[in-house]
C-alpha cells in the first residue's frame, strides 16, 4: 500500500467530479475525502448518483470531469485493471461454473504465487468469511448470504487498498441482512481496509458506517458520522431521508424560536429572519409524553421547555411491536397531524388510547428549522 503522508490524510480524494449522461447530470461537482481505514457509506434514494460515484472510483464508468486520487496517486483516467480495489456487487457476480475455491483463487492466479500458496490463501479466506469446508461446491449450491461472503472473500483475496461494496446486502432477506451487516463491519475492522459501500438502506448505513455521505440529485447533501447525520441534519432532505421526521410548516420567530400555527416554540438556533416561512422538524421519538405531574417542578417527569408543551388529542394509535405510533391533533397543526412514537411502557403508564387528550413536549434540542422547499 502506498505511503500516506500526514499532511494529506485523505487516502481517497475526490475533487470536483462531474458526470453527465447526455443532458442528465448524474454527478455535479462532487468533492469528498476518505481517510485510510474508514468505512464510508454512500446513502441516498435511487438515482441520486451514489452508484455512479462508486463506479467512477472503480473506473468502471469514467467521470466526465474531475479527479480521483488514491493513496496520493492520480487515478482519474486509469482503467479498472490499473487501479487498486476489490469490488462486491449486489448480484455477487460469482462465476457459476467455477467452484468456490476457484472463484476465490481467480484473482490470485498469474500473480507469481505458487499453487500451494494460492491454496493456503484460499483456505484462510474461507476461514475468515466463516465458510471452511465449502470450497469444492459451486455457487448455486450455496445460499444467498453464503454467496455474498464468497464474493467478499474473492474481493479481498489480493489485499486491495480499497474495498467497494455496491448494495451488497439488498438481494438478501431481512434476517440474513442484519447478520451479515455485523460480519462485514467486523471483517472490515479486522482488515483495516478502506471501504466504500453504496446503499439505499439508511439503517444499514447508520449501523455500519464510520462516515455517511448522503446524496440526492447528484450532489452531496451532507457528510458526517451516523449520529451527526441523525441528530443534526444539515438539510431538509437529510432530515426527511434518515429516520422518521415530522415536517411542520411554520414561520421563523426569534433566533431560537419557530412559530407553528400561532404558537411560538423554542428550537435550536437558526439563521432565519423573523416571519420567514420555514419548515420546522422534530422526530416522532423526540416528542416527550407527560403525565399529570409534569408541571410540578423537580419531579422526574419534569418539563424542560414550558413553551414547547402542547395539550393534544390522540387521534389514532398504531401498534408497531416495540412502540406505539400515535397521530396527535392540535389546532396549531391545522389539518395536519403530529406523529409521535411512544414506548409501550409510556402508553401503559399514561393509559393512552385514541380519543383522549394528553400533554406532550416537543424537545427543544431536537427541534430544527429549514428552508421551505419550493413547491
Amino acid at each position: 500500500m502506498p505511503e500516506v503522508t500526514p499532511a494529506d490524510p485523505a487516502y481517497l480524494k475526490i475533487e470536483n467530479l462531474w458526470k453527465a449522461f447526455g443532458d442528465f447530470l448524474a454527478l455535479s461537482n462532487v468533492s469528498l475525502d476518505i481517510k485510510e481505514g474508514e468505512f464510508v457509506c454512500f446513502l441516498g434514494p435511487s438515482g441520486c448518483g451514489k452508484t455512479t460515484l462508486l463506479r467512477a472510483i472503480a473506473g468502471l464508468d469514467l467521470q466526465t470531469r474531475g479527479t480521483v486520487h488514491q493513496g496520493g496517486k492520480d487515478i482519474s483516467n486509469l482503467p479498472p485493471s490499473g487501479r487498486d480495489f476489490g469490488i462486491v456487487f449486489q448480484s455477487y457476480a460469482l462465476f457459476p461454473n467455477l467452484t468456490i475455491e476457484k472463484n476465490i483463487a481467480f484473482g490470485l492466479e498469474n500473480t507469481g504465487r505458487s499453487k500451494a500458496e494460492i491454496a493456503k490463501r484460499v483456505a484462510s479466506l474461507l476461514d475468515i468469511v466463516g465458510l471452511p469446508e465449502q470450497g469444492r461446491k459451486y455457487p448455486a449450491q450455496l445460499s444467498g448470504g453464503q454467496q455474498q461472503r464468497i464474493a467478499l472473500a474473492r474481493a479481498i483475496a489480493t489485499n486491495p487498498g480499497l474495498l467497494l461494496l455496491d448494495e451488497p446486502l439488498s438481494a438478501l432477506d431481512a434476517k440474513v441482512r442484519v447478520h451479515l451487516r455485523h460480519e462485514i463491519k467486523e471483517l472490515q475492522r479486522k482488515l483495516g481496509v478502506t471501504t466504500v459501500m453504496v446503499t439505499h438502506d439508511q439503517e444499514e448505513a447508520l449501523v455500519m458506517a464510520d462516515k455517511i455521505v448522503v446524496m440526492n440529485h447528484g450532489v452531496i447533501e451532507q457528510v458526517g458520522s451516523p449520529t451527526e447525520i441523525y441528530r443534526a441534519p444539515k438539510t431538509l432532505f437529510v432530515a426527511g431521508f434518515i429516520g422518521e421526521m415530522n415536517q411542520i410548516p411554520a414561520q421563523a420567530g426569534a433566533a431560537d424560536e419557530v412559530v407553528i400555527g400561532g404558537v411560538t416554540m423554542k428550537s435550536q438556533s437558526h439563521g432565519f429572519a423573523r416571519g420567514v416561512p420555514i419548515v420546522a422538524t422534530v422526530r416522532p421519538n423526540d416528542i416527550i409524553p407527560h403525565g399529570d405531574g409534569a408541571h410540578l417542578p423537580g419531579g422526574d417527569d419534569a418539563i424542560q421547555t414550558e413553551e414547547n408543551v402542547l395539550e393534544v388529542l390522540v387521534d389514532e394509535m398504531e401498534f408497531l411491536g416495540s412502540f406505539w405510533r400515535c397521530r396527535l391533533k392540535h389546532d396549531c397543526f391545522g389539518d395536519g397531524e403530529l406523529i409521535a412514537d411512544f414506548s409501550v411502557n409510556a402508553v401503559r403508564r399514561l393509559e393512552l388510547s385514541s380519543g383522549r387528550m394528553m400533554t406532550v413536549e416537543l424537545a427543544q434540542t431536537r427541534m430544527l428549522a429549514f428552508d421551505k422547499p419550493e413547491a
Binding site: W18, A20, L25, S28, N29, A58, G59, L60, L62, Q63, T64, R65, G66, S76, N77, L78, P79, P80, S81, G82, R83, F85, G86, I87, F89, S91, A93, F95, P96, N97, L98, F106, G107, E109, N110, T111, Y138, P139, A140, Q141, R154, A155, A157, T158, P160, H217, G218, V219, E374
Partner: protein
C-alpha cells in the same frame, strides 16, 4: 434541472480514459471481425450495386476511319462510324446497347466491303479511352492504324462503360423479366398465408390440447429444416409429375409452376413458422385464461380475445420470415417452376444462362428490396414481443377435453403425414430401380460417381464445408458477439458492428453469391486467389448465416451477469482468461446450438454457393440440383436423402454431445 444547487458542467475537456491492454485487444479484435464482415459482405454488395448501374454502349462517334481507293494508297477524308451509320442506317439505337464484353464488327458500315478487295483502311480512336480489337489485340491509343481489308474484317469495337439507370429501364420495359416480380410476390403471399395458418393450428394443437405424441409431432415438424429446399420439388415431381403416382388428383393442372412452388414452399418453410408461432403461444399467461373462465367467456370468445392477441406478434413475425424465405428461395422454383419465372431463378438464368451479369445484378437489387422490407418489419415486431413475458406470468397448462384432443390429433396427423410423406416419397424414389417401369428396389441410384454433379466427392465436400463452417463460423460469430456485448465504451464502433451483424439476414443467398462473383472474381482483387476454392464457400456460408447465429450468441451473453468483466478487471486478470474460463463454458449450450445450425444450413444451402462452387468443390446440395437438371431425378432424390440422414445424424450427435458436455461442464447448474 430545477434544483438551484445544481450548476451546469464547467467547460473544458472531458476526461479521456486510458485504455487497458484488454481494451486494446478487444477493440482490435472487433475491428478485425468488422473488417471480415466488410470484405465478405459490404464490399461484394457494393460491387454488385455498382455493377447494376454499369451500362455498356458502343459509341460510334469515338472512332475515325479512312478508306483508300482500289490502288490502296490514296485515302479519303476521315469519317466517324456515327456519320457512316447515319448514311447507311445499318444499326439502330437499340443495337448499340451491349454487355461488358460486347463486340461490334465494323464491316457492316461498308456495304461494298469485300475481304479480297485491295482497298486499305485506316482506323483510330478519337478519345484517349476509346478501345477496339484487331483480332484479339486491344488498341487503346489514338494513332492511325493502317490495315488491309482482310485484317480490317477482324476489327471489333468495344463498348464504353457508363453509370446510369439504363439497365433498370431495360428491365422494367421487358415484360418477360419484370413479370417475375408479380409472380414472386404472388407465390410468396399465397405460401405465407397457407404456411402460417397450418403452422398456427399445429402449434395450437401442441400447446393447447392434451393430445398424445406431442414430442413426435414436434420432431416431425422440424424435419424439413434438414433437407435442401428443392427436395420437396423432387417429391412433387414423383407425386404429380408427368408420370406421377397421383397425377389425376390435380385434374389436369400441371405441378410444374405456381402450384408446385407453393406446395413445396409450405413444406420447407413450415418448421420456421411453427417455431416462431409456438414460442408466441408458449409465453401466454395462464392467469388470462383463468380470468376468461371466471368471466364466463365462451371458448370462441376466449380464443379471439386472449389467444390471438397473445400470439399476434408471433404470427406477424412468422408471416414475414416465411415471405422472405419463399421470395428468396432458388432451389424449389428451379426444380418445379417450369416456365413460371420468379426473381431468384431469373438471377441464375441471367448469370449462368445468358452471362448477362449486369442484368443479374439488376434482378438482385429488385429482389433485395422486398427482402429488406420483410426483414425490417420482422425485426421491429420481434422487438415489441419482449415485453409480453413478465417474470410473474404463469405458464398455461391445457386440461384434457376428449373431443377437442382428438380433433387436434387428427389435424396434427394430417400435417405430419404431409411432411413425412414428402420425405418418404423421395426415399422411395431413390430406392426404386426405374420409376415407373421397374419398381424393384436397388441401390443403383446411390452410385453417384456414375452421374454428373460431382459424385460422392460432392457429398464429402458438403460434410467438409459443414464442419469448417460450424467450427470457423461459430468461433468468429461467438467471439464477435462477445466483443460487441462486453467491450467498454467504443459505442460508435459497437453500433456499426451490430449493424454489420444484422445485415446478412436481409441479403438473399442468390444476391450474396452473385456479389461474390463480382467482388472476388475481379482480377484486380488480391483476394481472388480464394475464388473457386473451399475457402470462398466457407466464407460465403458463414456470412450468409451470420445473423441468426449472432443473435443466438447475443441472447446467451446477455443472460450472463454484466459485472463479470468488472470483477475480472478489478482482480487484474486478462479478459481473455475470463472469456475462456467462464464465458465459453457457461455459454456452451448456445455455442453448440450455433454450430449445429451452421452445419445443417451449410449442408442444405444452394442459393449462395451455386455461383461459387468449382469442379473440385461441388457440393451435395448442388449435386441434387444438377442431377435433377440433367434428368437424373432418382439419384437427385437419393443425394437429397443423404443430406437428410447426415443432418439427422448430426442433430443426434449434437444432442448426445450437448447432454454429455453439459452434464460434465455444467454440473454447477444443479443445486
Amino acid at each position: 434541472m430545477s434544483d438551484a444547487r445544481m450548476g451546469s458542467i464547467p467547460a473544458g475537456p472531458r476526461i479521456k480514459g486510458k485504455l487497458s491492454r484488454d481494451d486494446l485487444i478487444m477493440r482490435g479484435s472487433m475491428i478485425v471481425i468488422a473488417l471480415y464482415l466488410l470484405i465478405t459482405m459490404v464490399f461484394p454488395l457494393y460491387a454488385m450495386m455498382s455493377k447494376s448501374l454499369s451500362t455498356y454502349k458502343f459509341d460510334l462517334a469515338a472512332y475515325e476511319v479512312q478508306v483508300s481507293g482500289e490502288e490502296g494508297t490514296v485515302f479519303s477524308d476521315p469519317v466517324t462510324f456515327a456519320e457512316l451509320n447515319e448514311t447507311q442506317e445499318a444499326l439502330h439505337a437499340g443495337d448499340l446497347l451491349a454487355g461488358s464484353d460486347g463486340r461490334l464488327g465494323v464491316t457492316q458500315f461498308f456495304p461494298d466491303f469485300s475481304f479480297r478487295s485491295p482497298v486499305n483502311y485506316r482506323i483510330r480512336n478519337l478519345d484517349e479511352d476509346g478501345r477496339f480489337l484487331v483480332g484479339s489485340k486491344l488498341i487503346d491509343n489514338t494513332d492511325w492504324l493502317e490495315l488491309d481489308s482482310n485484317t480490317f474484317r477482324r476489327v471489333q469495337l468495344r463498348p464504353k462503360k457508363d453509370i446510369g439507370l439504363g439497365n433498370f429501364t431495360t428491365y422494367f420495359s421487358t415484360p418477360a423479366l419484370s413479370d417475375s416480380i408479380k409472380n414472386s410476390v404472388m407465390i410468396a403471399t399465397i405460401s405465407t398465408i397457407i404456411t402460417v395458418t397450418l403452422a398456427f393450428w399445429f402449434a395450437y394443437a401442441l400447446s393447447r390440447s392434451c393430445m398424445r405424441f406431442k414430442g413426435l409431432f414436434r420432431l416431425i415438424a422440424m424435419a424439413p429444416i434438414l433437407v435442401p429446399s428443392l427436395l420437396p420439388g423432387i417429391a412433387l415431381v414423383y407425386l404429380f409429375g408427368n408420370q406421377g403416382m397421383l397425377k389425376e388428383a390435380l385434374f389436369g393442372a400441371s405441378i410444374y409452376g405456381p402450384i408446385g412452388i407453393i406446395i413445396g414452399s409450405v413444406f420447407f418453410t413450415f418448421p420456421h413458422a411453427f417455431l416462431i408461432i409456438s414460442t408466441g403461444l408458449a409465453i401466454s399467461d395462464a392467469r388470462l385464461y383463468e380470468a376468461a373462465v371466471s368471466l364466463k367467456a365462451t371458448r370462441w370468445r376466449t380464443f379471439w380475445t386472449v389467444t390471438i392477441p397473445g400470439a399476434r406478434y408471433g404470427l406477424v413475425s412468422a408471416a414475414f420470415v416465411v415471405f422472405n424465405l419463399v421470395i428468396t428461395d432458388f432451389g424449389l422454383p428451379k426444380v418445379i417452376g417450369g416456365q413460371f419465372n420468379v426473381l431468384a431463378v431469373d438471377i441464375y438464368k441471367q448469370v449462368i444462362g445468358q452471362q448477362n451479369f449486369e442484368m443479374g445484378a439488376v434482378v438482385s437489387v429488385v429482389l433485395i428490396l422486398p427482402a429488406i422490407l420483410a426483414f425490417a418489419i420482422d425485426r421491429f415486431v420481434q422487438s415489441k414481443q419482449v415485453a409480453l413475458l413478465s417474470a410473474r406470468s404463469v405458464p398455461y397448462q391445457p386440461s384434457p377435453n376428449t373431443r377437442m384432443d382428438w380433433i387436434m390429433f387428427g389435424y396434427a396427423s394430417l400435417v405430419g403425414v404431409f411432411l413425412i410423406g414428402m420425405l418418404a416419397v423421395c426415399q422411395f424414389a431413390a430406392l426404386v430401380k426405374f420409376w415407373p417401369y421397374d419398381l424393384s428396389f436397388s441401390l443403383n441410384n446411390y452410385q453417384f460417381n456414375k452421374m454428373d454433379g460431382g459424385g460422392w466427392a460432392a457429398y464429402f465436400n458438403s460434410i467438409k464445408l459443414g464442419l469448417l463452417t460450424a467450427v470457423i463460423g461459430t468461433s468468429i460469430i461467438f467471439f464477435g458477439a462477445y466483443l460487441v456485448e462486453k467491450s467498454n465504451g467504443f459505442r460508435t464502433g459497437r453500433t456499426i458492428f451490430q449493424m454489420f451483424a444484422m445485415l446478412p439476414m436481409a441479403i438473399p443467398g442468390m444476391v450474396l453469391g452473385l456479389s461474390y462473383i463480382f467482388f472476388f472474381n475481379n482480377p484486380d482483387n488480391p483476394l481472388n486467389v480464394i475464388y473457386g476454392t473451399m475457402t470462398i464457400l466457407v466464407v460465403c456460408t458463414v456470412t450468409h448465416f451470420y445473423t441468426v447465429s449472432h443473435l443466438t450468441a447475443t441472447t446467451a451473453l446477455q443472460q450472463m451477469d454484466r459485472e463479470f468483466e468488472s470483477v475480472s478487471a478489478s482482480l487484474k486478470q486478462p479478459t481473455l482468461k475470463l472469456f475462456s474460463r467462464v464465458t465459453v463454458p457457461v455459454c456452451l449450450p448456445a455455442i453448440l446450438d450455433i454450430s449445429i445450425y451452421l452445419f445443417v444450413n451449410a449442408m442444405t444451402t444452394v442459393s449462395a454457393v451455386v455461383f461459387l462452387y468449382s469442379h473440385d468443390t461441388a457440393l451435395a446440395s448442388i449435386a441434387v440440383l444438377n442431377m435433377d437438371d440433367a434428368g437424373d431425378i432418382a439419384p437427385a432424390a437419393a443425394m437429397g436423402m443423404m443430406i437428410f440422414y447426415t443432418n439427422a445424424g448430426a442433430r443426434i450427435i449434437h444432442l448426445i454431445a450437448s447432454r454429455g458436455i453439459v452434464g460434465r461442464t455444467q454440473a454447477w447448474r444443479k443445486r
